[in-house]
């Protein structure tokens, strides 16, 4: 028997985090070129979004097809602050000067000059929007495909809004040419590494937080709501509140990911947060395994990496490949790549062990 399976879950979790830390903090920086490492930083931002989707969708059954909105809110909040800091006190960001339509900074930009406000906004703004939307939607018992379509509509609306307000949002171009990050020059590879380390640290911290949530009583209740919302109601809970918590937490994670994406990549734009990226977030999670803790992370990184690798070589075919991958996983491996391990183990031992909470996954919301 595998000696690892004899360890208590807590010890195994610590080992897992230790291993993750070694890979992210030692192995990757030692083995990868600066260019590859900055790509990995970008993938890890997607992985942070994926952790939240894993909670909301994998455990809560909420097919969040509009996480781009929250990613975008966090990204724009961060980018606005960095643009203002780049411009220097009292000046307008370069693109506003360029379009020359404005005499002074719009009022809603002003608070973002304050770093504390901007940082808090990257997380709280998405959470607030998710809270508002979730309160409306879950209490009215909007579920399944309807919820997914609504999420998508929100992503589309946000893109239209951003593009329409070119003078104050940078329009289609977005906010680009970001040079500094709280006083550090982002052109310097050392500082790029620092950004990578921050992102890796945030990812690990959020994984720990999510693991705690999944193993808490709340995490059990969330699975119960996913599998039988009516039944939960008859026990005296309001399932709307249970879902709302997962949705808001996932939105906060997406916002933070968007905020970290900006110094890692140097840009945020409508094309990065609209319908297509929102769907891509979910595809990564589905491929990796939505109900497992690490499945979404591995899936998000793998899909983003494959996108870079394959669209370099076969431009134009990536979209189809991605679609095919999604369909294959949904049809043949609903638990994603993360469930392969369990399947293999079960086959070897021939005795089916009790799966962990939520490891087996229903395909129904995807199909719905």
């Amino acid at each position: 028997m595998n000696p690892l399976t004899n360890l208590s879950p807590r010890v195994r979790a610590w080992l897992g985090f230790g291993l993750g830390a070694v890979v992210l903090f030692a192995a990757a920086p030692a083995l990868l070129t600066d260019f590859r490492l900055s790509l990995l930083a970008k993938y890890l931002c997607f992985a942070i979004v994926a952790v939240g989707i894993g909670l909301a969708w994998g455990r809560g059954g909420l097919l969040t097809l509009g996480q781009g909105v929250f990613f975008g809110l966090g990204g724009y909040a961060m980018a606005m602050h960095l643009k203002l800091a780049d411009a220097g006190e009292g000046n307008m960001p370069d693109f506003m000067e360029l379009y020359g339509q404005l005499d002074e900074l719009p009022a809603w930009w002003a608070p973002f000059a304050n770093p504390v406000f901007a940082l808090a906004a990257t997380v709280l703004l998405p959470m607030l929007v998710a809270f508002g939307l979730g309160s409306l939607v879950f209490r009215r018992r909007v579920r399944g495909a309807y919820f997914a379509i609504l999420s998508q509509a929100l992503a589309a609306a946000m893109v239209i809004l951003l593009i329409g307000q070119q003078g104050t949002t940078g329009g289609t171009n977005g906010l680009t040419d970001i040079e500094g990050f709280f006083g550090y020059d982002l052109d310097d590879p050392v500082n790029q590494r620092m950004v990578y380390f921050i992102i890796a640290g945030v990812l690990l911290a959020l994984l720990a937080l999510t693991r705690q949530l999944m193993h808490s009583r709340y995490g059990e209740l969330l699975v119960a709501v996913r599998d039988s919302e009516e039944r939960v109601r008859f026990l005296g809970y309001n399932p709307a509140n249970v879902k709302l918590v997962a949705y808001v937490v996932a939105a906060g994670m997406a916002g933070l990911a968007g905020a970290l994406f900006v110094p890692a990549v140097g840009i945020i734009s409508p094309a990065l947060i609209g319908i297509v990226p929102s769907i891509e977030f979910v595809i990564g999670v589905a491929v990796g395994g939505r109900a497992a803790l690490l499945g979404p992370v591995l899936g998000a990184v793998a899909v983003a990496w494959a996108k870079t690798a394959l669209s370099e070589r076969f431009p134009g075919t990536w979209t189809y490949l991605q679609g095919a991958m999604f369909v294959l996983v949904v049809a043949f491996l609903p638990g994603g790549l993360a469930s392969l391990w369990g399947l293999l183990k079960r086959r070897r031992e021939a005795t089916p062990p009790a799966p962990e909470v939520g490891e087996r996954v229903l395909v129904k919301e995807v199909a719905a």
């Binding site: 009583r217 209740l221 599998d227 109601r233 008859f234 026990l235 799966p355």
Partner: protein, 258 residues
């Protein structure tokens, strides 16, 4: 007086589905601690009556429990007033363990702080319920893997830890073996007394063994009510069930199961 102590009192209850009257002006009183059986042919409106009382379908009239009006409240608010129910087909959280099912059932009043932490020890009420329903040994298996009878017991256990003072059970022994029925009947006997229990059931043997009182529903109305003997000798009941074949005492057997 009985009403405030945990009795159920229904007046003029009416449920209409797109013009079809499923429950048609039912008056029903269940005294605190009673073990009431609710019988009637298929389609009589038994399940719909329970649905109305627990907030699942809209109804007019009145349904009071412990002095509180139930109609018009949300499902989860009615549950919090101490009304619990089971369903014709077991509705457990199949991907959670027996223990997790019970722990969730026990937890609607928990603080956010408690919710965000792990369960430490097994709560006392959950441990007690596990004993009562005989599933202590099986507490760590997934609910979905339980035998049919055990699933129904787990549902009853969930009502116990939920602290329901009115239990509405929709055909809890359907599909059970004879031994399982006996065990369930005894369990219900134990539960009633402290709590008020209403059981929808077709099995006449089971009813004779365990019912304290019986209400017969027919076409959305109360046809007869009383002790088992009173109801069985009621000519109206015999007519509905048997078409005049008085004396025969297996009234509900055919065509009654859903």
């Amino acid at each position: 007086m009985s009403e405030t102590a945990g009795g159920l009192s229904i007046r003029g209850l009416r449920v209409v589905f797109d013009g079809f009257v499923a429950v048609d002006g039912v008056d029903l009183d269940v005294a605190p601690g009673d073990l009431r059986f609710l019988i009637g042919p298929n389609g009589a409106g038994k399940t719909t009556l329970v649905d109305a009382v627990t907030g699942l379908v809209k109804a007019t009239g009145s349904a009071r429990f412990g002095g509180q009006e139930l109609l018009g409240r949300d499902v989860h608010r009615i549950a919090r007033l101490g009304v619990g129910r089971t369903f014709q087909t077991a509705a457990l959280f199949e991907e959670l363990t027996v223990l997790q099912n019970l722990d969730i059932a026990a937890g609607a009043g928990r603080s956010p702080w408690t919710m965000l932490r792990r369960r430490g020890a097994v709560p006392d009420d959950v441990a007690y319920a596990l004993e009562t329903i005989g599933l202590t040994e099986r507490r760590d298996v997934l609910a979905g893997t339980l035998a049919h009878g055990q699933k129904q017991w787990l549902e009853i256990g969930m009502l116990l830890v939920q602290n329901a003072r009115l239990l509405l059970l929709d055909e809890p022994v359907a599909g059970m073996s004879h031994e399982e029925r006996e065990a369930t009947g005894e369990l219900l006997g134990k539960v009633a007394g402290e709590r008020t229990v209403v059981v929808i059931e077709h099995d006449m043997d089971f009813l004779r063994r365990f019912a304290h009182t019986v209400t017969v529903l027919h076409a959305g109305r109360v046809l007869s009510e009383g002790t088992v003997a009173q109801v069985q000798s009621d000519p109206k009941v015999q007519e509905v069930y048997l078409g005049h074949a008085a004396g025969h005492d297996e009234p509900v057997a055919q065509g009654a199961e859903t």
